[in-house]
Symmetry: C2
Subunit: 149 residues, 2 copies
Amino acid sequence: MTRDTAPDTNRSLPIALLRAREKVMGPIRAMLADVGVTEQQWRVLRVLAERGTLDPTEIADRSCLLMPSLTRILQALTTKGLITREAHPTDKRRQLVTITDAGRQLIADNLKESQRLNAWLRESFGADKLDALLDLLNELDALERDPRG
Amino acid sequence: MTRDTAPDTNRSLPIALLRAREKVMGPIRAMLADVGVTEQQWRVLRVLAERGTLDPTEIADRSCLLMPSLTRILQALTTKGLITREAHPTDKRRQLVTITDAGRQLIADNLKESQRLNAWLRESFGADKLDALLDLLNELDALERDPRG
DNA sequence: AACTTGCAATTAACATGTTAAGTATGCGTG
DNA sequence: CACGCATACTTAACATGTTAATTGCAAGTT
């Protein structure tokens, strides 16, 4: 009884990924909303706090954002006083972005809760299954693209 | 050596889910772009084609869209002539949405390719791993929410 | 019937996703 | 040095995500 239609949404990978992501992100979004930063802005701040001064291209790569989105996010973060931007000393096309003390403080204020949510997920879902899931997702991401064959 | 910082992006579930979704959706989006419909519009059309006439609330539920997004999408689909909307016979708050022949034709024109992409994924990633991944994602989605404990 | 409460859909406002153009700078080559 | 091409953003334009407020209608209560 192979149907010629779409799979049930539970068996549709795109939708399953969507739902799973919402399940994980919901609580994090709620936490960040209280502080006035979005999920993506939080990601950028985290990257900057961990790796130090970076140029936008590398930030985009590490935080999984497209450059047009990042442009707007960096503007917002600058307005909020959470980052600073300066010209690259030798390459005038580039910038150097640095997190401010206020930015670090914001991270410090929320890291605990963030870790608590992570811990909740790990215990609630199971550490073994979480690892298995991450492995599968990373494998999927590593697939050769170009299914046009 | 337990660090007091964020996990590597490869081990961050939200980002891993994001990357995996992009891997799967990229080719589908490309296919749909040629026909002039978005990924979300395609989801709505599919739901309507499979389940017949529905009200917006149920469409939103089945296609994993929020009502405000769906409102705009239904407007766009109506403009494109792919769906029709009529008032609910007894409850004037509701509507009834139906896919048009043009809508069904659009699906017919792309279902083959869509299935080919699904098949590619299944073979490329492995049927067993794909099933395992879907199981884990569904389990995750089924978790009791409310980590504020 | 007036009141209250709840539901369906829309609107509003702001942020991001996505693709395509546009700008300015760096770089290699003739 | 002039030319052509690549790189690093930035803008633009449109669609969606997200939360809150709003409108119109339904249902139950007094």
